[in-house]
Symmetry: C2
Subunit: 352 residues, 2 copies
């Protein structure tokens, strides 16, 4: 070993999820939206003044923050934006989880929570979800350094009613509670309606799913102005200019077109309803899905084998080789045609 | 104070540099390129398939990494990309500066080095530049946890010959040495030619200056495959998808058009030569500029007053109220017309 090598930070190398891109493949593995972004996005690209690219973007992301504030009827000082919700969540971890007590999150959850906790040296404890994958609010009563959970949950797709979130907030008035609503637009009511009652609530959302913009890397947080200011202080302190000119311009357009947004999410919900029935007909079970994916298991067909068989046919779904969920498949809701191809194969494979 | 407030990380709030944008203003304060990006960028915007935005970008940034590897005649495994060189540098700090010994950098330097050192709890010592703002290589001989410096320096614009860099590397074989070449395309030879001789050398560059793309947020590092792999491991471990689809597509185009790139940087160098003469004629002195800016001082006119007077006329330059440099102005090289307007005002103001 050379001497300089021992200065290198050792991390568990993480392999990003497969992003294959072959014609005719059916890509139901990363919860992307099967439909393109709002049609106005084409227009924004066509009229984007390329000369602007020579200038630094507005570090406050003012136009996008304004569009989001208008859309959600909150103040501009209540909105933070970042390079995808991963960036927003990482900054939130840095900003809010600074206690000697462990933060709490579910045992089955978004895989990056323990990663950021390790990275920023935040102690944590996981709280087991119930058998049906719902949260047991009492688990979050003990003293802690902060709480975070996804709602709907990833990867189970289970959606918790706001009453559960209220109960967790009522017992956690001394810490910041983060609700990661990456998939909320496919589920029930957002916790945004709780902001007036809870100053210590931060809600994180993304353009990657419901707004068909995973490729643009746009996420945001909404909360009390003091929380947003603290996040901006941390962000500005180490990288002021993160949102590109194109992300700002295209993001604003995606927020502006609410008609398209509502139609698109409604279409995916409708396809999800049909998919539920088709999975049931084939003998699968699943927690009631609240997201743009469904988390299925079958009593007779091991998930790992189904995963491999689907992949052979260029149908990509997601399999997690982790405790409690290693007999499940996470299947993104694609177009009706994609889902029909999936079910046609499954029927054949299962001889139904 | 509410109990949750004490969980918030306290940072020294940083106010990002002014990014005013008024018609007729002359913006020479943030070292942006006065010319638009390569003309092919327009074409890429026109033909960009907006449907792709619904998909996650390639986490390896393969197309952009490939374009940079081809351009610089290095392996694809020698190139790392990030959201501006600030992102690249921050990840480099995390990845390589993990020693109990302090890292070394100049006392007059890019203002974010001490910020990242504090953020990642990296001890550091600054080494005073000589009176003429050049590096004293002997300062970097003692044992340390790593070395970083900008070449050309920001904000002095002074360029160090590769012999100086070689000397520093020869005395620092046990740590990673980072040369921050944000402005190298306006100066002399890049330290890229030293990569074959020094495995522990990392070079960081950016699209923000010479490639007219501050608004797209693209930076990169080039070094030994082992260094690049370590940076990717760290990056993937906390945020895999940072380079947007548009950044990748537009970035590739900017690298492809070498004729435009060379013409654009040559034009700025020519304007810089004229600006040097004009500053000299007005009695200013400056270190020989190697970047797209010039760092000027005047024996009779305090920099702070000149800064204010220029600003009154909507001519923005940069003033740093810091020890040793608080009688200097950092003036970005704009177009010939912008520089003529600057000098016309200065002549009038100074009654010359």
């Amino acid at each position: 070993m050379k001497a300089w090598q021992d200065k290198i930070r050792s991390v568990v190398p993480y392999t990003p999820g497969e992003q294959p891109n072959r014609p005719n493949m059916i890509k139901l593995n990363t919860n992307e939206n099967p439909y393109p972004p709002a049609p106005g996005v084409r227009d924004v690209l066509d009229h984007f003044d390329e000369d602007r690219l020579r200038l630094y973007p507005d570090p406050t992301a003012g136009t996008l923050v304004g569009a989001l504030a208008d859309y959600y009827h909150v103040g501009k000082d209540q909105v933070f934006t970042g390079v995808g919700s991963d960036d927003v969540l990482a900054i939130a971890f840095m900003t809010f989880f600074n206690s000697d007590k462990p933060i709490f999150f579910p045992d089955i959850t978004y895989s990056f929570y323990p990663v950021w906790a390790d990275l920023f040296k935040v102690p944590y404890e996981t709280k087991p979800l119930k058998e049906d994958f719902s949260i047991c609010p009492q688990d979050y009563y003990p003293a802690n350094g902060g709480v975070i959970f996804p709602n709907p949950n990833a990867p189970t797709s289970h959606y918790e009613d706001l009453s559960v979130i209220r109960e967790i907030l009522d017992h956690n008035q001394d810490v910041i509670v983060i609700v990661d609503e990456a998939y909320i637009d496919f589920a029930g009511e957002s916790a945004l309606s709780l902001l007036d009652d809870y100053e210590n609530l931060l809600i994180v959302q993304t353009f990657s799913k419901s707004r068909s913009m995973a490729g643009m890397r746009i996420g945001y947080a909404i909360g009390h102005p003091e929380l947003i200011k603290a996040m901006n202080d941390v962000k500005y302190s180490f990288n002021s200019y993160t949102m590109s000119q194109t992300a700002l311009a295209l993001g604003v357009e995606a927020v502006r077109d609410d008609v398209y947004f509502k139609a698109c999410t409604a279409k995916i919900r409708a396809t999800r309803e049909k998919a539920k029935q088709a999975f049931t007909d084939l003998g699968f079970t699943y927690p009631e899905p609240g997201a743009n994916f469904i988390f299925v298991t079958h009593p007779d067909y091991p998930a790992k084998e189904l995963f491999a068989a689907l992949r052979e046919k260029d149908i990509y779904v997601r399999y997690f080789d982790k405790p409690r969920i290693n007999n499940y498949l996470r299947v993104t809701i694609g177009t009706d045609e994609q889902m029909e191809a999936l079910f046609a194969f499954l029927k054949e494979y299962m001889n139904r």
